[in-house]
């Protein structure tokens, strides 16, 4: 049997198992319950929770992008494991607090959380729309990864559109039927698979190319000095850019609705234990960085289309590996992309329904809301699919802008948790100004002042405006402000 056939059979086998687990997880649960669909009734256990949050880290970006960064940029790739280890830590303190507020007031989204605190429908609607656009962008990236891996591992026999349709179609089916619980259990299976694959395949590649890890680094520092040092001559990133990139990823991480709203899905103790074991996920990513380092000076960058192709390129073209390794890597990359895609699809549907639709049409029953969320899963899946397959420059710019804007939720969220003084007009002004600033520096200009990350520039404008506008708009007391601040502190 040819290698691509073995690979294809393994990947399709993986997809069948993933579908099976997703559907089984949602079985015997109350299908008509809004609470089950949105937060799995708040009773997910530690093991599942850990992988559910971890699924966000093991994405198509980490599987294809991390080796790509290490290969093309060197030391700056360390930012990936740094922010992975640190970004979860604030959740230990804010997660239980958000969870307590959510349980008391029946909230299951970021939009709902901010709407109640600031008594503003406009905030919820803005959040709903930004979350939707940003999620579609995120999904399109994951789907490109899935389609790409299908294509290359079967040596071009499964076309791009079919690979994306197959793998993402399965995600949409199990999320729409089983809700959060299905996404969570699929993530457990996918997470374990990815960890095993990245270590075995990663270290095999390093050993085939350089005999051992120390040898690889010796070759690398001899042939390309400065590559593993940030801001040095020959380095690809300045100290300021490195630092602000870590900052923006660390602050923005928990603002992503699919992570933020997991605070509602479990108990305080589980949240804390999840944070506890989470830095291990950062360590799991290490071999993927090593794969990228190992290819430096072995592969010339003009041999591949983009740096993200380095891992599949090594496996299919450079190394002599058996067909089942093709299949394993294919399945691992699919698992990485799917475990991210399921959580994002789920939360995008929730945020848009809760933040936008429910504020336009205010008398929805919970049964109707649930139905809209289920349909939303299909609609969002379809939108992301068409963008992945057909592209469209203007649209992609819009989505990229939204993607970079998620971190701009931070002042509103932390203001809600810890301050009585922050007001709705201040949060709206800050959010919009921060989003525009980020958009401008990310997509219009070529460089930024002092090489600061555009998201951080937006955040600085955002925070200053929130403080100034809040001091001018102090008026009637917002009833929820004091309660939010007091809960769980």
């Amino acid at each position: 049997m040819a290698q691509w056939q073995i690979a294809m059979i393994m990947m399709i086998g993986y997809l069948v198992v993933a579908l099976f687990i997703g559907i089984l997880a949602g079985r015997n649960q109350d299908k008509s319950s809004l609470e089950e669909f949105t937060t799995a009734k708040g009773n997910l256990g530690l093991f599942v929770m850990w992988f559910l949050m971890g699924g966000a880290v093991f994405s198509a970006f980490s599987f294809l992008g991390a080796p790509g960064w290490a290969f093309s940029r060197g030391a700056p790739a360390l930012y990936i494991i740094t922010y992975t280890a640190f970004a979860i830590l604030p959740w230990y303190i804010i997660g239980p607090k958000i969870g307590a507020i959510g349980r008391k007031h029946n909230i299951y989204t970021v939009a709902g959380f901010l709407q109640l605190r600031y008594s503003s429908r406009l905030i919820a609607m803005i959040i709903g729309v930004i979350a939707l656009l940003a999620s579609i962008q995120y999904l399109a990236t994951q789907m490109k990864g899935m389609a790409y891996i299908f294509n290359i591992m079967t040596e071009g026999r499964i076309p791009f559109w079919l690979g994306a349709l197959l793998s993402y179609g399965i995600v949409v089916v199990y999320v729409a039927t089983g809700g959060l619980r299905a996404a969570a259990w699929s993530d457990v299976f996918q997470g374990i698979l990815m960890i095993i694959i990245s270590w075995t395949v990663g270290l095999t590649i390093v050993n085939q190319l350089h005999d051992s890890v120390p040898n690889m680094f010796r070759n690398l520092t001899q042939d390309t000095p400065g590559f593993l040092q940030i801001g040095a001559e020959g380095s690809t990133m300045s100290a300021m850019a490195y630092t602000t990139t870590i900052l923006v990823s660390t602050i923005g991480f928990l603002m992503w609705p699919h992570l933020f709203s997991k605070s509602y899905a479990t108990k305080a103790r589980t949240i804390k234990k999840t944070v506890l074991v989470y830095p291990l996920f950062a360590l799991f990513l290490i071999p993927l960085l090593f794969v990228g380092f190992s290819a430096v000076n072995v592969i010339q960058s003009d041999q591949i289309g983009s740096p993200d192709e380095i891992l599949p390129f090594l496996i299919t073209t450079v190394l002599t590996l058996p067909g089942w390794v093709y299949g394993l890597v294919g399945a691992g990359a699919l698992a990485a992309a799917m475990s991210t895609a399921d959580a994002i699809t789920h939360s995008a549907s929730l945020e848009f329904t809760d933040g936008f639709v429910r504020n336009i049409k205010r008398d929805l029953s919970s049964k109707a809301t649930l139905l809209i969320m289920r349909i939303g899963v299909f609609v969002i899946g379809g939108l992301a699919y068409f963008i992945t397959v057909f592209g469209g420059q203007g649209l992609i710019a819009l989505l990229l802008g939204a993607y970079g804007s998620i971190v701009q939720f931070a002042p509103g969220v932390y203001g809600a948790l810890y301050s009585r003084k922050i007001t709705a007009p201040a949060v709206i002004t800050g959010l919009l100004a921060g989003t525009v600033t980020n958009y401008y520096f990310q997509l219009v200009t070529d460089s930024t002042p002092l090489d600061i990350n555009p998201g951080i520039l937006g955040l600085m404008v955002n925070i200053v405006l929130v403080i100034i506008v809040s001091s001018f708009t102090q008026g009637k007391e917002i009833p929820m402000a004091e309660e939010y601040r007091k809960v769980g502190s």
Binding site: L78, T82, F86, L89, Y92, P225
Partner: protein
């Protein structure tokens, strides 16, 4: 120990390793040599502090006075 005090200790003690990972303090680790355990110094530095952070959170969890957030103030 009160809950506020714990939160303060939690944030401050984890800020230390974080600051060691970003500039200006990352300048200490930002070099290729010496090699430690076969890793260039910058790679070792990042991995080392992630492991320390992991142990630090374990320790903090042990001294957390209110693991279930039952207390109401």
């Amino acid at each position: 120990m009160t809950k506020q005090r714990f939160s303060k200790i939690y944030c401050l003690s984890l800020l230390v390793p974080f600051l060691l990972m970003v500039f200006p303090l990352f300048s200490i680790g930002n070099r290729e040599t010496p090699f430690i355990l076969g890793l260039p110094f910058s790679v070792f530095w990042v991995i080392f502090w992630i492991i320390i952070t992991f142990l630090l959170v374990l320790f903090l969890y042990k001294m957390d006075p209110d693991k279930d957030e039952k207390e109401v103030h």
